[in-house]
Point group: D2
Amino acid sequence: MIISVIGGQHPEDPESLRLAERVGELVARSGAVLLCGGLTGVMEAACRGAKSAGGLTVGILPGGDASEANPSVDVAIVTAMGTARNVIVVRTADALIAIDGSYGTLSEMAHALEQGKRVVSLGAWDLVRAGVEASRVLTADTPQEAVRLALAEAARGTTTGRPRPQP
Amino acid sequence: MIISVIGGQHPEDPESLRLAERVGELVARSGAVLLCGGLTGVMEAACRGAKSAGGLTVGILPGGDASEANPSVDVAIVTAMGTARNVIVVRTADALIAIDGSYGTLSEMAHALEQGKRVVSLGAWDLVRAGVEASRVLTADTPQEAVRLALAEAARGTTTGRPRPQP
Amino acid sequence: MIISVIGGQHPEDPESLRLAERVGELVARSGAVLLCGGLTGVMEAACRGAKSAGGLTVGILPGGDASEANPSVDVAIVTAMGTARNVIVVRTADALIAIDGSYGTLSEMAHALEQGKRVVSLGAWDLVRAGVEASRVLTADTPQEAVRLALAEAARGTTTGRPRPQP
Amino acid sequence: MIISVIGGQHPEDPESLRLAERVGELVARSGAVLLCGGLTGVMEAACRGAKSAGGLTVGILPGGDASEANPSVDVAIVTAMGTARNVIVVRTADALIAIDGSYGTLSEMAHALEQGKRVVSLGAWDLVRAGVEASRVLTADTPQEAVRLALAEAARGTTTGRPRPQP
């Protein structure tokens, strides 16, 4: 089982890093693989948390050099495809947890919705206010709740029926 | 100059198709190339409008077969990269006009923001309500206004300062 | 109809540039769109030839900035996907003409073969010596012959039966 | 350290499968991660070998569904990017071992050369006969020799000086 944690390199709220680290730890404790975009910020905090619990971490890097991975990435996938790698981070996930409000995170939440996946939001973009169906975003208040919702989502196949036609 | 029209295959509101066709026509009249995802719905309507005004249309297709392009696409770029092609539709654009509210459109709006581009919204997702800076989304009420804003945006280089760090 | 000219930025043999320019010119005269990787060297020479004959040129760029396109590219597609864009250059083509011997060109010839397409070689890698079926590479001695073979290949659908299973 | 094994789904010579399985086993015994394209044939045999030795296996899938991974893939990366994923298989590798002669394998060997990496060939395409510099292809006669060469290549940074400019 693979859980993606999506979030930016420079979260405005430092609390995001603490949440991400705890999420990573809980993902690892569940036995799931922690997947992310492999860089700093939320991504690094999540990986660090996962490693603290002995988990396996995979980073899908945007650049062409494995050395851009944060030090807690076990397996660095080097795409050299820039932010097109966001699509891979989403598609590979059995469930996703979004933390913080960068635009890259917004793109990943959108790709998840487009792929028919629900997203667990832990302080991320409030897409319901923008018009996304409320049932498609699972709001969590704590890392524990976020991971619990993500594991349940992964267990049910992550899809809510047929994916929407993509534009 | 390249203007991308982004929008879904199956817009809920048929009015979107009429708006898209008019936008396509006005883009072509301005002398700009009309770029889109190459499929049906909003994309096809925009291409049809552009062709009615003698414009050039380019479609960036998600699948592996040029025959999936709508009949008003002049140059069909075949990516076989699925929705990762959305990133190319956005990155190639000097300015973008979003019409309708599919999740693929949402992903393209997010990629535009992440790339430091502003988006012209003609009845698309109201991202400001979700927390996006108001200055990053240019709201238009008519096709004329949408194209005018997009051309101005393209003329100024399409960027609003440095792109945000991407997650 | 779209004909791709594939070749490197720094061909060892300057004659390659003369051949590429003439190929570009003849492709444009035939009414086909000239597609390439959009950069310098063989790509630029082919575009320049096509423009001299009033043709339309499209460049699929590896980087994230349209300004890296050579000055004879009409439509610059900005992928920011590095050499993964080679796959798009190949997949979009109704037929391909390979000129010169860079490793990027070799990768594009290989992708063409993998996609079930034959390649016209005008002084490019001699893949038959490496074991490729002789019927899959069409050797041309002049730009005229190369373009004639490519147009015939495009007319027949470019495929030689079913594509090989891909690894 | 990540070693990629590249090879087709339907190798003509069944011996390729036996070689791939042994290579996978030896890669795992060395402690390196086994990376491949995640499908059947050579890819599956290599993964099975790695698992028999308790290794970690990663498959970079071309399609959009994790279920297409062979049963010996531990971490299935879902790209939905078709054969553009070949570029990722190559770029992620610290060293590559090519087995068999499919066209997809040929494309991966070419991408490796383009990225400035040398390739270990265990019965794969004889690219030296096509004009590739002899020093860029390391020919192995046995799985043991292939893995020994790959590990040495990975240890030295995998590059032979600066990458060639890419076309």
